[in-house]
Symmetry: C2
């Protein structure tokens, strides 16, 4: 194994110059710098120990970010927000559970053996016991759920209010028979959205119909098709998310129904790319996902430093109106 | 600061039992385990030093993954592939450059100070000098470009062949005036795709027209609009990627042109969600991005272990035909 003095001898510079160049520092001519790097490489110099000892000495924080699916634009945006807050001095260790709860819990449990300074759990499916246990070891930021634990901060979107807004918007556009294609019951988020929908319907003395379907296009398509075949009279649909709405639109079109003239449709998440490409462009509820990721990371840093006073941080969604929900009000 | 013996005394167990529970090991009743964790938390026990020393002893590899934009589905899929290959024993440090080349080069340069074992650069924009320099310190896997360096492995899609296939498919469907809405010249990928297009056109004695536009929907829209306004007779468009194709389709529709009857369109990347939602569904060239990410990570591990014999790994794209390119051949 080559050492610094050998490299120094072969390149006619001092050991300290070699060391500086190998550490990306010092003022050396470009030609000399390249020569030193070339010789180092040719001699098979492996500076790992050196680099590692520097890493240990430096004050770099590592954040573990656990997501169920990085391909889902929601979690990609969340990740971008976390990356932004971390800047160039902190590292983000990304852990994708591939929607496998067992893997997810294992990743979380292992986090403390990896020397990670804190974790952000981008999903509300993990058990309360696990959050309680892991928070004994490291600070935790969770999404969509509240915890009364010292070492835990919650980031929450007001899902109920978002769903209420979406439903009220359909009502204001003249819809009376509005169904909700919802998520599955085990997710707190889904329950909250169903409750917001029900609140708006009850307020207008309309009868709520909740059909739990799930989270992607195909379940939206199947769910909508089922309701139409059962003979439901429908003039408005509030969907769990944009993908479900896109599936619903497909099923409505197949039955010869026009959107928004016959049936107004609104989604949730406001995935801009999707919402603008679908025909007609899809109205949706916007959540500031990237900003939520940024705040999550900042609050985690506060927790790590031990000076966090915030236990929960609530974001408010907003309504984005496009063509799919603009039904003409009959007067 | 609390220590193990204090926790042991308050919970009536041995120090070794406390230590085991705090490390997620040992056979203790669930009730006792929870009590120990609760007391540890109440006493403000911080097991970080312990966890860190374990991390140092363990053989966990850390992979630095640099992407220009995690929200782009291409890089999200690539990340998923890397995550898959890393399993539960290796860590992925995700670094998003936000398409800022300066930040990207800084992240790459800093990687060796973070104790990272190897890096994967998901973008071909970085300078050859930087790749050469960083490979002196740590193993590197790059995409879309070849290097004759010891510590570097290249993962490449045969872009030229993909573009050739796409163009030939349009020709076989009766198109004669095919334009290419291409990427910008500084990206090797863009040049390769333009070359593949030109090869297919020349082979069929058709005149190639390359219009460099860029990589998103709006430049596709503007580019297509410009060509139509300049009076080009066009019956086929091969686009740099799916987003550009979606923009082109919008411009064609605005001019009252039907797809595929008047103009056949094909994209590149085969972003399934986008391709199926657009009207009509978009034909595209599929690249196995997730698999490319997996192979990248596996080859990086070989490099780290010092037993890599592969210098480059070439993936072959395939044609996915949907409605947008199925022009009726006039006979």
């Amino acid at each position: 194994m080559a050492n610094l003095s050998e490299i120094a001898r072969l390149t006619n510079v001092s050991i300290s110059t070699v060391s500086k160049v190998l550490n990306g520092k010092g003022r050396v001519s470009e030609a000399k710098r390249k020569e030193i790097l070339r010789v180092a490489r040719q001699l098979g110099y492996t500076p790992n120990y050196h680099a590692r000892s520097m890493a240990r000495k430096s004050k770099i924080l590592t954040v573990g970010l656990i997501v169920p699916d990085i391909i889902n634009p929601f979690f990609a945006s969340l990740t971008r927000g976390v990356e932004k807050a971390c800047g160039e001095d902190s590292l983000v260790i990304l852990m994708d559970s591939f929607r496998n709860l067992e893997r997810e819990e294992k990743l979380i449990k292992n986090a403390r053996f990896f020397g990670i300074d804190g974790i952000i759990i981008g999903n509300s499916r993990v058990s309360d016991d696990l959050v309680e246990e892991i928070s004994t070891y490291i600070p935790v930021v969770v999404f969509d759920k509240f915890y009364e634990l010292d070492n835990v901060v919650s980031i929450v979107l007001d899902n109920r209010y978002g769903a209420y807004m979406a439903t009220k918007h359909l009502i204001e556009n003249g819809c009376k028979n509005i169904v909700h294609l919802g998520g599955t019951h085990e997710l707190y988020v889904s329950l909250e959205r169903a409750r917001g929908y029900e609140a708006a319907m009850n307020e207008a003395s309309l009868k709520p119909v909740v059909e739990p379907v799930g989270y992607n296009e195909s379940v939206g398509y199947e769910g909508m098709k089922r309701l139409l075949e059962l003979g439901f009279q429908i003039d408005g649909v509030f969907c769990m998310n944009d993908l479900v709405a896109i599936g619903a639109i497909k099923a409505l079109k197949e039955k010869g129904l026009r959107i928004p003239e016959d049936v107004a449709v609104i989604g949730f998440d406001n995935d801009k790319e999707l919402c603008e490409i679908v025909d007609p462009p899809l109205s949706s509820i916007h959540q500031p996902v990237e900003e939520m990721g940024e705040v999550a990371a900042k609050l985690l840093f506060e927790l790590i430093k031990g000076n966090s006073k915030i236990k929960r941080y609530v974001f408010t969604p907003r309504l984005v109106v496009r063509q799919s929900s603009l039904k003409k009000v009959k007067t």
